[in-house]
């Protein structure tokens, strides 16, 4: 199907609507039942893409800039126009329930700003420690229990 086919179909559809409207007007003179028009999902090219589609576009467009550097462990487009890139988990074999750490890099597609942090995961994949990378170089760790509740910091 070409774009012209699409336009032709749209024209035909709108013509049908006009015909139906005229017919309905004629019938209404005889108190015919009014049938509501079916809701049509937006398909017009001038309508904005869905948030999900936008996230897909963001991931595809910005991927080459960050994925190879920070996204070896995957990436995820968030609903707030940010994309998170996950580094590989660097395993730890002697830390009990903790499996290892990874670096996370977050890119805001609206502002162009980035931020990053280190996080330590347990063996079930929960984030148990977060260490933001601050501009002043001060390192502070925030610890959470396995339910995600904040425990302490140092």
């Amino acid at each position: 199907m070409t774009i012209d086919d699409f336009r032709t179909n749209r024209g035909a559809a709108s013509l049908d609507v006009r015909r139906n409207a005229a017919a309905t007007a004629e019938r209404s003179a005889f108190a015919a039942p009014v049938v509501p028009l079916r809701q049509v999902l937006p398909t017009y090219p001038d309508q904005p893409p869905s948030p999900e589609r936008l996230r897909q576009i963001d991931r595809a467009f910005f991927g080459p800039f960050f994925r190879e550097k920070y996204g070896a462990g995957g990436d995820k487009a968030l609903q707030n126009h940010r994309i998170r890139y996950y580094g590989q988990v660097q395993p730890s074999n002697n830390a009990g329930e903790l499996a290892g750490r990874r670096y996370v890099h977050e890119f805001d597609t609206m502002t162009g700003l980035t931020r990053g942090w280190h996080e330590t995961l347990d063996r079930t994949g929960n984030v148990r420690l977060v260490r933001p990378e601050r501009d002043d170089g001060i390192k502070r760790n925030y610890q959470f229990d396995d339910d995600g509740r904040y425990k302490r910091s140092w």
């Binding site: 190879e68 070896a72 660097q90 002697n94 330590t120």
Partner: protein, 111 residues
């Protein structure tokens, strides 16, 4: 800034030998990451770029702790991490298939 595998390996070894603290190694890697963001890091040889970067990203955060004064990683973890990221001694700059595999695993989707 020019960076080669030997420089990264030296930082790993200095940490393992106790000649460099993990905190300093982390800051060294952080500085590299910052410079990489501005696009002024060159990798020598260029084909070792992925391995070098994997090593830098291991060192970045190498001082992670599980409690005040308790490191997450043992020396054994770090030694293994060094091997996985940048390869064995003698691999430097050779660009063999095994190193290529390690680099691909570490860097993901490089085109």
């Amino acid at each position: 800034m020019e960076l080669d595998l030997q420089a990264v390996r030296r930082v790993f070894e200095d940490v393992l030998n106790g000649c460099m603290s993990r905190e300093r190694a982390d800051r060294w890697a952080h500085a590299v990451v910052q410079e990489e963001e501005t696009g002024i890091v060159t990798y020598s040889p260029p084909r070792a770029r992925e391995r070098i970067w994997a090593g830098v990203m291991y060192l970045y955060g190498i001082d992670a702790t599980t409690a005040p004064g308790v490191y997450l990683h043992t020396d054994g973890d770090i030694r293994k991490g060094m091997t996985v990221c940048i390869g064995e001694v003698g691999d430097d700059g050779v660009g063999d298939d095994a190193a290529g595999y390690r680099a691909t695993a570490a860097m993901g989707h490089r085109k």
